[in-house]
Symmetry: C2
Amino acid sequence: MRTIWNAGYRYGVANEKSADPAAIRQLIESELATFLAAQKKYLESIGSELVPAADALVSFLLDGGKRLRPLFAYFGFLGAGGTHSQEVVRACASLELLQACALIHDDLMDGSDTRRGKPAIHKHFEKLHARESAVGSSVGFGQAAAILLGDLALVYSDLALHQSGINTAVLPNVLAVHDEMRVELMAGQFLDIYEQTRSSHTVERALTIARYKSGKYTIERPLHFGAAMATTDKTVLADVTSHYSSYGLPLGEAFQLRDDLLGVFGDPELTGKPAGDDLREGKRTVLVAMAQESMSSTDIKEFESLFGKSDLDLSGVEKLRTIINETGAPTHVENLISDLTNKATKALDTPSITTTARQVLSDLAIIATKRNL
Amino acid sequence: MRTIWNAGYRYGVANEKSADPAAIRQLIESELATFLAAQKKYLESIGSELVPAADALVSFLLDGGKRLRPLFAYFGFLGAGGTHSQEVVRACASLELLQACALIHDDLMDGSDTRRGKPAIHKHFEKLHARESAVGSSVGFGQAAAILLGDLALVYSDLALHQSGINTAVLPNVLAVHDEMRVELMAGQFLDIYEQTRSSHTVERALTIARYKSGKYTIERPLHFGAAMATTDKTVLADVTSHYSSYGLPLGEAFQLRDDLLGVFGDPELTGKPAGDDLREGKRTVLVAMAQESMSSTDIKEFESLFGKSDLDLSGVEKLRTIINETGAPTHVENLISDLTNKATKALDTPSITTTARQVLSDLAIIATKRNL
């Protein structure tokens, strides 16, 4: 299978390392590792008790991950006419620290105990506490540690960005995009937890949540973030930013829809989460909202009696999958993903985005929405 | 009683509004109100479901508070030779949003249900959920809402700072101080929750925690933050920064020791927390560590059987207070507060800090450490 993760693929032909996503991903990896090593040293200088906190972040952050947000930011930068520099890679890598905050807090709020096949941060610290037979509640300690490590990751994302060494002339615009992206993310997360408390749901509301919580935050805003690093020319920036929205918004939606499907039908080996985890957590996704609109009243009853049960076993998961499949919603969602991805890719057809970036963004569209992620 | 909160007191004589802490506090109040109103409007534009979140932050932030951190930042700015501007007040006000994040997450981690005489954020949303008989766990919703509102407040503190309009030339230095302050805060918080899980405690460790979690973050770093806004001259900045540390570090310690005393002996009317709340939460403060060093083994046994009991009643609180009083630790702590405050005030005796700022900082030292805060 052709893959852009094999360093040198296609882009290597022109020997343009800066246009090779695999090479850039490696640079992002290495910047993250350097940053986290320095931070660990600093925390250790305050107190050795902080080493487990530093180690947990290192292991959480350097343990795979597609680095989609940094990659979109980087190619957003390149597409807006920027030229490769280590400083820019560093700034892009900071988005991965923000994502760490989002995941750590999200897992805690959802009571989701596994992440990338390993214990989530709150579970990890809960286990450390129990293993040491420490004083107080292991669960409480795990929760508090996850709240603080999420906060620390959020602050680190700022620190990494501010220390990146990017041109101070672009800083105000970059910070503005960064802030807006984060407000949107938190707003989306809040809409999400609120939605879980409602007794009725609509596809429209599920779409809004997905857009703010994930779509804009994963693709559109990182592209804008990158563009803001490339130029301070208002007209150029406004132009490329609007093209990035035309590409990023539908793609973000497709990305989230793929995530919905994986949360219900995904292979645990690939998702790093137990089978049907979203069903166990009762996630009100677009897929679920669509499925519910087409369920018979008997199916709805059975669905609601199992959906969100924290001790749901595999046979329960299978029952829910069958009900969802019978509505035809998964096929509908697959078609939507195709349509949205095509729409996104078409939006790249503009001279406002550099040719090299257009090629890579077109490939990243496939990466972000493909089945076996 | 003389108070600097009566606008016009002393500083008014010279008609120097910018040197009047009461007037500056009002300006900070008004900048916060303006900022939060704009943010509420923005959240509302995403979805009306976000209004309760916006309202909770408004009520949390505009409901009293001494604004110590913004004031120290402002007078740190003035003391380093800065001239008053609305932009600087705005930047200083941003620290109050960071403090909101710290308090919201702290209350959640400590299971502390009251803040300024009202329900803490997690309790507030727990109650909203229960009142609406919404789907799912009220406690879980309250916790998730508090995690997200804390995150949002943290992002808002960045946004308020970045939008403040302060000179872009000073921005890199300001951001660096701001980042360091926040890493220290999170590190201190982590040390704190870790300490609660230990079976033995020392005064030294309690002091380290207090220094990072509260002392540096409340006084020294806000002063440095202010100084970084006043000048980019490295020599001047290094000089004034070092004087601010000589003043801020002992004062920060005194501030935290006062907080320890208030947490055990404070009047609920004034603290906004139930009587003896720190005893109920089992906070391992410097005061408690000092008291424990001088307890008889019988007292230690009784102390440990009651300390940290979440259902501790008033008679239990009284018993613990008596045991602590009998060790002489409160008197010792009072003396320490005096000594540290004097040491701090003496450090102001330098031409590196402007005369006006010296006067105000000397008064703020009293404010930050006095009994009936």
